[in-house]
Symmetry: C2
Subunit: 507 residues, 2 copies
C-alpha cells in the first residue's frame, strides 16, 4: 500500500485516524484481558470506568463528521481500485462499520450500556438462586431496547437482521431460519438414534488430573498445532476467550478442572483456533479495521475446526494419545486409544450448551436463535420465555431442564448484550468448519495422514492462505464462495457427523 | 466534596475532564505494566504505538484551551476555600500540572520522544559493548534538547530547575547543590572509616535459593507489613517497579536471582513501600490528579523507609529471621541472626548505584546530580563525561569503574529521558525517610518494639495519616514541614547512619 499512500493523501489520512482508533481499542482490550486474568478485586470499580472511557473516546473519534466526509471523498478512488485490493477493502469495511456506528445515537448507547451493566449484575445474582422473576423486568427492558436498537437501521427485512449484522454481517434471519430448520430436521433423528444406544463410558476423563500437568500438556499441543508463542501466550480465566492487541500479540485463555480432563484440553484448542486466525492475518493490514476476523461465524468455524474436526479426530489422538498417557500414566495407562476416543466424543442429551457434544450442540444454539426471533417479532413475551425454552428442549433434545438455572438463565448473552444476533454464529461456525475442511481435503488429501503424524502444516497453510490472510476483507458469504466455490450448506456438516458418528454408534 | 460539587458546576466539569484523562493514563500504565511482565515479544512494535497514542490523546485533552479557561474561571472559587481542602488542592495541582504541560509545544514533545526512543535503542546496544562513542552523538543531542526543554520555562534561577520540577516540584538546584555538598562532606569520611576495616562476609546470601521459595517468602513478608493483596499483586519483571491503575489496584514487580537472596527480598520491600503510599491515598481523591505521590523524593522516602530503615533493621529480622531460616534451613540453618544482619548491611565501595548499600548509595546519586548540573551549565562537554564520571568515583568513592559499562553507561536515565532532574529524588528520599522516621519515633516510641514483634501497624497508620492520605495535595516542602515541623535536613539521616553503622563497624 506504500505507493497508494503516495498517490492518495486522503487514504493516508483515513489510515492515520483508523490507526489511532485501533490503538485505543487495543488498550481497551488489554484492560479487559487484565480484568479477566490478573486484576485484583479492588481494581474492579475503576476498571469499569476506564473501559467505558476508552470505548467512548474511540466511538467519538470513529463517528466524527470528518470521518464520514473522508469516506465519502474516497468513494471515486475506491471504485477505481480492484474490489479486494487492500485499499478498496479498507475504505469499504471502514465505511460499513462507520455507517453502523453513526446510526445509533450516543445517548442511546450510554443508556443501553448502563442497562446492560445493571442486567448483568441482576443475572449474576439471580442465576445461582434460580430466580428468573428477578431478571424478568430487566430482560423486558432489554427486549424493548433491542428493538429500539434494530429500528435505528431502516430497510431491514426482519427486525433481527440489523442485530445479526453486528456479529455476522449480511446474514439474514429468513435465510438462517430456513437453513437451521433443515439442519434441525437432519439432526434430531441422529440424536435420537445415538441416545437410544448404550451410553458411552467417559468416567476416565473424570479422574484427578493435576492442573499444572494439564496446562503443560495443552501448551505442548497448541505449540505443535502451530500457535506462535512469540506472538501470544496462554493464561487462566473463568470463561476462556481469545483476544488480540495486534497481529503480533494474540492471546488465549483457558480454565482447568482437575476432575475433568476435557475442559482445559479442548477449550485451549478451541481458543487456539480463534488465535491461529488472528495470528494468520496479513501483517500489512495491522492497525486497520481489516485486521480482524470476518464474522462471528467465520471465527467460530476456525475454533471448531481445530477443536472438533482436528482435535477430536481419531487420527489426531493416534499421534497425541501416547504422549497424553505418558503425562498421566496412572490415569490413562490402561485406557486404550479407542476407549479414550469414544469418551471424548460421547453424545448425550444434556441441558447445558457449553457442555454439549458436536452432535447436539447446534440444537442448543438453534433453540436460542429461534426464541430470539420470536421475542423480537412479539410472538413470545419474556414472561413466557422459561416455558418456551423448556418446551423446545423437550421437543428438540428430549429433555427438560430441571430448573431455570440450567435453563433460560444458563447463558450470559442476553443478560450482557442485546436479544437478537447473539447465537447464530455458533452454528454458522460449525457448518462452515465442515464445509471449509471438506474443501481443504479436496485440494490436499494428505491432510488426514499429516494429522495422524501430529503435523497440521498443510492444513494450517491452506487456511492461512484461503481465510486468515485476508482479515475481514470479504464477507462470510464471499469468503465461503471464494474458498469452497459454493454457498453455505448444511450438507458437509451432516456428512461429517454421519461419517464420524456412524463409526462410533449405529446410525 | 459532594456539597461543593452542587454549589460549583465548573468544579464538576473540571473533575469530569480530569477523570477522563486519568482513565486514559491508567490504560497507558496498564499497557506499560503488561509490556514489562507478560507481553510476548511479538507485541512490542504495536505496543510502542499504542502507548504513544494514549499519551498523545491524554496530553491533547489536558492542554485544551477549555481546560485553561476552566482553571482560570475557578481561581476566585479556589481562593475562597481553605488551602488544603480537597477542592482548592485539586484546582491548584491541576493548574500547576496544566501550566507545566502547556509550556512545551506538542511538536517538541514528539521530536524529543522520537529522539529518546532512538537513544534508548543505541544505549541498549552500546552498554554491553562498552561503547560510549556510539551513544555520544545521541547524548549530545539529548543535552541540547534538555536545555531547550528547560528554556520553555522562563523565570528559573538555574537551568536545571524546570527539569527538577518534573520530578521534585519546587526543589531548586542551588538548594540541592549545597545540601548535597554538606551530605557528601559527612559521608565520605564514614565510608573511608568503614572500608578500611575487614570486609563483611556476605557469602551466605549468595548460595542457591530456589526462586519459588524466595517469591513465597517475599509475599509473606509484604503481606505482614501491610500490603493489601485485595488491591494489588506482585509479578516478576527485569527492572522492578511499582505501578497503579487506581487506588484499588496498586501493583508491584520484583526480580529473583537464585544466587542472590537480597534481590527479590529487598526489591519487593522497596516496591511495597511505594505501593503502601499509593494504597494509602484517600479514596475520595480517586480519579483526580491528587491521587498520586507528591514527588519522586517523597515517594522514594517511603520505599527506602520500608526497605532500609525497617527492612534492614535488626529488630525486623529478630522477628523474621527464624521464618527465613525455616524457608531455607540448608542455607541459613547455621547462620546466626547477627551474621545475617551484618551481611545484609555490608558496606563496600562498588561502582554500581543499584547494588550500593545505604552508606555509599547517596554518593553515587550525588555524582550524577552534579554532573547533570555541570552539563546543563555548559561546564562539562559530553565527550568529557566518562572521564569526569570516573574522576568523581575516584574522589568520592575511592574506586574507578573498570570500563564505561560499569561507569557512565550503567544507568538508563539519561538515555531514555532528559539530562537534568533525573537523580536528586533518590537522595532526597533517603534524607526524608530518616527525617520522617525520627518524627514517627518521637510521637510513637513503641514503633521499634512493634517492629521487633513483626508488627508495623503504628508506623503504617502514622505514615498513612501524615503522608499517604493526602496524595499530592502538599509539596514535598509543605509535607516535611507539616510532618516534622522542620525543613528538610541531612542531620536525621546522618544520625541514623552513625547510630546503625556505629554498631556494625568502628566509626
Amino acid at each position: 500500500m506504500q505507493t497508494i499512500e503516495k498517490t492518495e493523501p486522503k487514504l493516508l489520512d483515513l489510515k492515520t485516524r483508523l490507526a489511532e482508533i485501533n490503538d485505543i481499542e487495543a488498550a481497551a482490550s488489554l484492560l479487559y484481558w487484565d480484568q479477566a486474568t490478573y486484576m485484583p478485586p479492588g481494581g474492579a470499580a475503576a476498571r469499569g470506568r476506564q473501559l467505558a472511557t476508552l470505548q467512548q473516546i474511540s466511538h467519538t473519534k470513529f463517528t466524527e463528521a470528518a470521518m464520514g466526509q473522508l469516506l465519502e471523498d474516497l468513494r471515486p478512488y475506491e471504485t477505481s481500485l480492484p474490489y479486494d485490493s487492500d485499499a478498496a477493502s479498507l475504505i469499504r469495511i471502514a465505511r460499513q462499520k462507520y455507517e453502523q456506528a453513526v446510526r445509533v445515537p450516543a445517548s442511546f448507547m450510554a443508556k443501553f450500556s448502563r442497562h446492560r451493566t445493571e442486567t448483568y449484575g441482576a443475572w449474576a445474582r439471580a442465576r445461582p438462586e434460580n430466580n428468573f422473576a428477578a431478571v424478568r423486568p430487566y430482560l423486558e427492558e432489554t427486549l424493548d431496547l433491542s428493538r429500539e436498537l434494530a429500528n435505528f437501521f431502516l430497510d431491514y427485512q426482519h427486525i433481527a437482521d440489523p442485530l445479526i449484522d453486528f456479529a455476522d454481517y449480511g446474514m439474514k434471519a429468513s435465510f438462517l431460519r430456513s437453513l437451521f430448520a433443515e439442519l434441525r430436521e437432519q439432526l434430531v433423528p441422529i440424536v435420537e438414534a445415538i441416545t437410544s444406544q448404550t451410553p458411552t463410558n467417559d468416567s476416565y476423563l473424570h479422574q484427578v488430573y493435576p492442573a499444572s500437568e494439564q496446562l503443560e500438556f495443552t501448551l505442548k499441543i497448541i505449540e505443535q498445532l502451530g500457535y506462535d508463542f512469540q506472538r501470544g501466550r496462554q493464561d487462566q480465566t473463568h470463561h476462556p476467550f481469545m483476544i488480540n492487541f495486534s497481529t503480533g500479540d494474540v492471546r488465549i485463555t483457558t480454565r482447568v478442572y482437575e476432575n475433568d480432563l476435557s475442559q482445559a484440553l479442548f477449550s485451549s484448542i478451541h481458543e487456539m483456533g480463534h488465535a491461529l486466525y488472528e495470528q494468520g492475518i496479513d501483517p500489512e493490514l495491522e492497525g486497520t479495521p481489516l485486521a480482524c476476523g470476518t464474522s462471528a461465524g467465520v471465527h467460530e468455524s476456525q475454533s471448531r475446526l481445530w477443536e472438533n474436526i482436528v482435535g477430536r479426530s481419531r487420527g489426531f489422538w493416534q499421534f497425541f494419545y501416547p504422549q497424553l498417557q505418558s503425562f498421566f500414566p496412572a490415569q490413562l495407562g490402561n485406557v486404550s486409544l479407542d476407549t479414550f476416543y469414544r469418551a471424548i466424543n460421547k453424545v448425550q442429551r444434556s441441558p447445558i450448551r457449553t457442555d454439549a457434544d458436536e452432535v447436539t450442540y447446534n440444537l442448543h444454539v438453534m433453540i436460542r436463535f429461534d426464541l430470539e426471533l420470536d421475542m423480537l417479532e412479539g410472538k413470545l413475551e419474556i414472561r413466557d420465555l422459561p416455558e418456551a425454552w423448556n418446551e423446545r428442549y423437550r421437543s428438540d433434545l428430549g429433555i427438560v431442564p430441571k430448573n431455570d438455572t440450567e435453563g433460560v438463565l444458563q447463558d450470559v448473552h442476553w443478560y450482557t448484550s442485546q436479544i437478537g444476533g447473539m447465537f447464530q454464529g455458533y452454528t454458522l461456525g460449525n457448518l462452515m468448519s465442515a464445509q471449509f475442511f471438506e474443501a481443504a481435503l479436496t485440494e490436499h488429501s494428505e491432510i488426514l495422514t499429516e494429522i495422524e503424524q501430529g503435523q497440521c502444516i498443510t492444513l494450517h497453510k491452506w487456511l492461512k492462505e484461503k481465510i486468515y490472510h485476508h482479515g475481514c476483507k470479504y464477507t462470510a458469504t464471499e469468503l465461503i464462495r471464494g474458498v469452497t466455490g459454493d454457498v453455505l450448506r448444511i450438507d458437509p456438516f451432516i456428512r461429517y457427523i454421519r461419517q464420524k458418528y456412524g463409526q462410533l454408534y449405529t446410525l
